[in-house]
Amino acid sequence: MARALINVPPKAKRGAVIEIKALISHPMETGYRHDESGRAIPRDIINRFVCTYNGEEVFRADLFPAIAANPFLSFFTVATESGVIALTWTGDDGHTQTETANIVVE
């Protein structure tokens, strides 16, 4: 389980544009580096990141090795209703992790 910081405003006015930020602890190994003995270090990156708002997808990113280690993403969405914002990411090794945050819209 990679450590992750996610930032979703806990409260928002209906219709307001809110910023969602995620910082995931991950080496984002490119597959282009070699270790001391010259062996290629296999690629291991987070290749997919999805944000859902009450189950509906509002943002998705396909990531490539050019994304820096400990990937950071910041994007916007409209606060439509109170509920759950879920951020899910998938790695090359097939693991997925989901972090959720509650938002109150008034």
Binding site: Y32, Y53, V58, F59, D62, I67, P71, L73, T77, V78
Partner: protein, 162 residues
Amino acid sequence: MDDSPTIGTSTRRRFLAGAGGLVVGAAAAPLMTVRPARATPATMAAAIREVIGEAAVREGKVKLDLPPIVENGNTVSLTVSVDSPMTAADHVKTVAIFNEKNPQPNVAIFHLGPRAGKASVSTRMRLADSQQVVAIAQLSDGSFWSGSMDVIVTIAACVENL
């Protein structure tokens, strides 16, 4: 025969042969990787075509924001924003980021929709060399718009082992 020379059993010739083999082996390892060391503007153009197809790309509407001079190419903050009202009728569908000189031309593809409210995404990328970074946005009407930024990098990413 024992390859590793030990004191007492090894001759000078055998030692030199072994050492030479080691040097050749070490030098050959990086040369044997088949993939090109870096993307070129041509491979970037090919990668762009792979993502957007044969559509025409117009310049404008897309603003790519990176620092013009980067000290450390391992983490470069990047913001891409598109001039769009982000309504159901007129919004940004995807924004793809490409580079010229990293080992691979793709950086990221962001999928947005009318619920984004604002077409702006920030992330951090690696830059292997001073180069141009290009962002291409597809709008809901099917048109493609591009923006680019030239960046000077003093310490490159992707090359050295850290």
